[in-house]
Amino acid sequence: MMRAFFALLGRDLKLAMRRRFDLLQPLYFALLVCLLTTLAIGPEPALLGRLAAAVTWIAVLLALLLALDGLFRPDAEDGSLELMLTAPAPLPVLVFAKVLAFWLVVMLPLIVCAPLFASMLHLPGTQWLPLLLTLLLATPCLAWLGAICAALTVQARRGGALLALLLLPLTVPVLIAAIGTVDAALQGLPMRSPLLLLGAGAIAACSIGPFACAVALRLGLR
């Protein structure tokens, strides 16, 4: 079982390393969102600083959405999804390997770079750490929600466009909790409890997500 897990994880990481330029795609997309937002709002540092955390979060969310179609679709198109589904290893384990690889390849670079983008938007120094923490704690939840939606749409036509409609309403609570935490930090309020809430969400997502995602993959089969 663990062998299957690492075989799949290793394969996905290796594939990602082979196409290194694709790794940059979510990053420059997120940066472009930030750039366009500053152009739309104007260069005034005070206003940008107030919006910085929110804009960064939206940018991360959109970059995730863009990358998500590549989670299961290539596997479905070349038939490796069928190999996964017929493997003796339990499907939730395999799905976990895929989502972990996705998190490492897509989300982790975003998490690392997001504070950088935010400081380009004049994020106040006190919010730097809360932003990083919320991103770290909230992205597992986002990744699993995204994986479930990607699994549901993998056999559908024009799955990419559909993904936005399915995923974004589901991410509302995560976004609110994350931004609320950053705001609380700005107002000097304790952020321990909202952070704990996000952490609980991450644990719940990591424990329920694999099973839900496996069911979703099997349901969409045809």
Partner: protein, 250 residues
């Protein structure tokens, strides 16, 4: 887990078709009657609100629609659960036919709420927690409809939509509380339109009557849509052929 036999029998398409066909007209008539009674009570008998004068009368369409939009999602999710656990085809179909009706009620809630907001808050739209979570609900309905339609294979699409409906039902209360919390964090400009004490009983009973009417209407419309969907899915089977032959001659 085993389902009772009558449930299975009702799950057979021709039986459901006949059963719904017999029940539907009664539901429509009852819903229409209750609507007229409730509207008479709300628009004519109820006194104007001391704060909002007559503008509050929008409540008689807004609140039943809002209740129904949420109850409709609940009914749809129950159906989705039955469809996925007992692999019941009729339940799959009913999830897909409930979604547009629920979306219609949600749209009604949004539009009437917006119209109500204009005289009350001075704005067509306010990021009030209730309006916001209602909007999210609308997108959840749209997601179910869009997902079901995006599949070449009807059943695969139906099953995926059922699963999404179940994910959504977990999400609905979370969204509601999250948005409420978010709103308090931002100290929104919400004016409490009604606190419990301001509702007078002469204003209240039409509301309940209309809510029941909305419920009955939802069931009736659901049956009508499911009947049509069954006709479409089973075109060519003997019972549909027999039915349509009957239509042609009779």
């Amino acid at each position: 887990m085993k389902l009772p036999l009558w449930f299975h029998r009702l799950g057979s398409p021709p039986t459901f078709y006949r059963f719904a066909g017999r029940l539907m007209p009664w539901l429509y008539v009852l819903a229409a009657g209750l609507t007229l009674w409730g509207l008479y009570g709300g628009l004519v008998l109820a006194p104007p609100d001391y704060q909002q004068s007559d503008a509050f009368r929008i409540i008689y369409v807004h609140v039943p629609a809002a209740w129904m939009s949420m109850a409709g999602y609940g009914l749809m999710a129950v159906c989705a659960f039955i469809a996925l656990v007992w692999r019941m085809k009729l339940a799959e179909t009913m999830v897909l036919t409930a979604a547009p009706i629920g979306a219609a009620f949600t749209l009604m809630t949004l539009v009437t709420g917006s119209i109500w907001g204009r005289p009350m808050w001075g704005t067509w739209w306010d990021w009030d927690p209730r309006l916001t979570s209602e909007l999210v609900l609308f997108f959840l309905y749209l997601g179910v409809i869009a997902l079901a339609q995006a599949f070449e294979d009807r059943r695969a699409g139906a099953r995926a939509a059922c699963f999404l409906a179940l994910v959504g039902i977990v999400n609905v209360p979370i969204v509601h509380f999250a948005v409420k919390w978010w709103n308090s964090l931002h100290q929104g400009s919400t004016i409490r339109v009604f606190s419990e004490s301001t509702i007078h009983s002469s204003m209240k009973w039409p509301l309940l009557v209309l809510a029941i009417a909305a419920y009955l209407y939802f069931i009736a419309s659901w049956m009508a849509r499911t009947r049509v969907a069954l006709l479409e899915q089973h075109a060519g089977t003997d019972w549909v052929q027999a039915l349509t032959q009957g239509d042609r001659h009779g």
